[in-house]
């Protein structure tokens, strides 16, 4: 695209995480192990950055996904909706090493969307009258109670998409989309790993899920495990 040295394409996951440091807030896409930026997570671990706050729907499993950064104790705090499948997490949480903030899944998705869209807060009925509402502003609209939830943004956003063009226009695949589109909008620096990078003009503009304006850095995944948590099959 155009002339000059400007390019969003980075040679490696390590190079694409240049600038990641201690105590940063990192947003990480994925639902369970589906649609997680595997190579960027590994590179984040290898960066050695500590004291991280990670915003991600789940916390991976013991030896994969964000579980890798729990093993190395690089995460200080997790903001998630569900952390069920991770024994390392449980151990560190119960021993007080790890802070945890639970956020209802839809509220988490909307907080990230808001964070990327310049919306500092919004009202939702989700969690009204529960522990989630504690310490939050409450307001009644049309006879129903809502609570104020804040938008979320982070220094870095780590995203997995299926295809990107060189401008960073993204297309996701099936349910691997999940949190990735909102997370892509909410990072100061959004880094994406994809299965295929194509020249500008190859993707149908009508089919773009995330416009390239949100994406600063792109890498092609050198390899992907795409681990399945629950392999359920029918005889057909």
């Amino acid at each position: 695209m155009g002339t000059g040295a400007y390019s969003k394409i980075f040679p490696s996951a390590k190079a694409a995480l240049e600038g990641v440091g201690d105590n940063m807030t990192i947003l990480v896409g994925g639902f369970g192990l589906c649609g997680i930026p595997e190579n960027l997570i590994t590179a984040l671990r290898d960066s050695g950055a500590k004291g991280l706050t990670c915003v991600s729907n789940n916390a991976g499993v013991d030896d994969f996904g964000l579980g890798l950064l729990l093993q190395t104790r690089q995460i200080k705090k997790m903001l998630s909706s569900y952390v069920g499948e991770n024994a390392t997490f449980e151990k560190q949480f119960l021993s007080g090493e790890l802070e945890l903030e639970f956020c209802p899944q839809g509220t988490l998705a909307e907080r990230l969307r808001a964070g990327g869209a310049g919306i500092p807060g919004f009202y939702t009925a989700t969690g009204a009258g529960t522990v989630v509402a504690e310490g939050k502003e409450k307001k009644v609209f049309d006879g129903r109670e809502y609570i104020l939830e804040r938008g979320i943004a982070g220094e870095f956003a780590l995203v997995k998409a299926w295809k990107a063009d060189e401008f960073g226009n993204l297309i996701y695949r099936k349910t691997a989309r999940n949190f990735n589109p909102m997370i892509a909008t909410a990072g100061k620096i959004t880094v994406v790993e994809v299965e295929e990078i194509v020249p500008v003009g190859e993707l149908d503009p009508d089919m773009i899920h995330t416009p390239g304006v949100y994406v600063q850095r792109i890498i092609k995944s050198p390899s992907l495990e795409k681990r399945i948590e629950q392999r359920t099959v029918s005889k057909g």
Binding site: P104, G106, A109, G129, K174, N178, G236
Partner: protein
């Protein structure tokens, strides 16, 4: 004896109407899908971003990019759509999902539900349950009527931290089908074929009134 898990699911499937978009939780709720007649036009929603969820794939069709909210590999039916988590919960929060079925630890006569947290035990998180109970148009709870030690799970007031307030409409247990009678108790609509209305009343902490026309369930 009461109903088996499959019978609870089968009974709940009768609440599903043609044209419905339905979200089924993990456990007994998932079984409901097995009893929805193929002739009925029902779209199953999975909150990780799929409307039009199909059965488990054959071995050769397994796709790690296609899972349900329980992280199981699934398929997408003709007419299905994929979308982001924000769109998925806009669908839920905005009242576009006709029915959600989910499990619970306690339900009370104000329609409050507790399903995600036992103080002192490791908490795994609420996932999408708080959004679903607050947003779906109808919330049906599938659960056992009593705990393992015999304590009623249908209460005057929930004792565990809530998932949502004033949101449950109907409860289908191994003992019967009940409706929240707000602030007063529960209305008993049907009971398990091998039980009696008295047995349900006896096993329920909150007051239960038997509605006119109520009777044993038929399978």
């Amino acid at each position: 004896m009461g109903l088996t898990r499959d019978q609870i699911a089968q009974r709940i499937s009768r609440e599903v109407k043609s044209g419905y978009c339905v979200n089924l939780g993990i456990g007994i709720p998932t079984l409901v899908a097995n009893f929805i007649p193929a002739s009925m036009h029902v779209m199953l929603q999975s909150e990780n971003g799929l409307l039009g969820m199909g059965p488990f794939p054959t071995e050769s069709a397994v796709d790690p990019d296609l899972i349900n909210a329980g992280k199981q590999t699934v398929t997408a039916l003709p007419g299905a759509s994929f979308f982001s988590s924000a769109d998925s919960f806009a669908m839920i929060r905005g009242g576009h999902i006709d029915l959600t079925v989910l499990g619970a630890m306690e339900v009370d006569m104000n329609g409050d539900i507790a399903s995600w947290m036992v103080p002192g035990k490791m908490v795994k998180g609420m996932g999408g349950a708080m959004d679903l109970v607050a947003g779906a148009r109808t919330v049906i709870v599938a659960m056992q009527h009593t705990s393992k030690d015999g304590a009623s799970k249908l209460l005057k007031k929930c004792t565990l931290p809530l998932t949502g307030k004033d949101c449950v409409t109907r409860i289908v247990t191994d003992m019967g089908v009940l409706e929240v009678d707000k602030g007063r108790g529960f209305k008993l609509l049907e009971w398990a074929p091998d039980l009696s209305a008295e047995a349900v009343i006896e096993a329920t902490e909150a007051p239960v009134t038997v509605v006119p026309g109520a009777g044993p369930m038929k399978f």
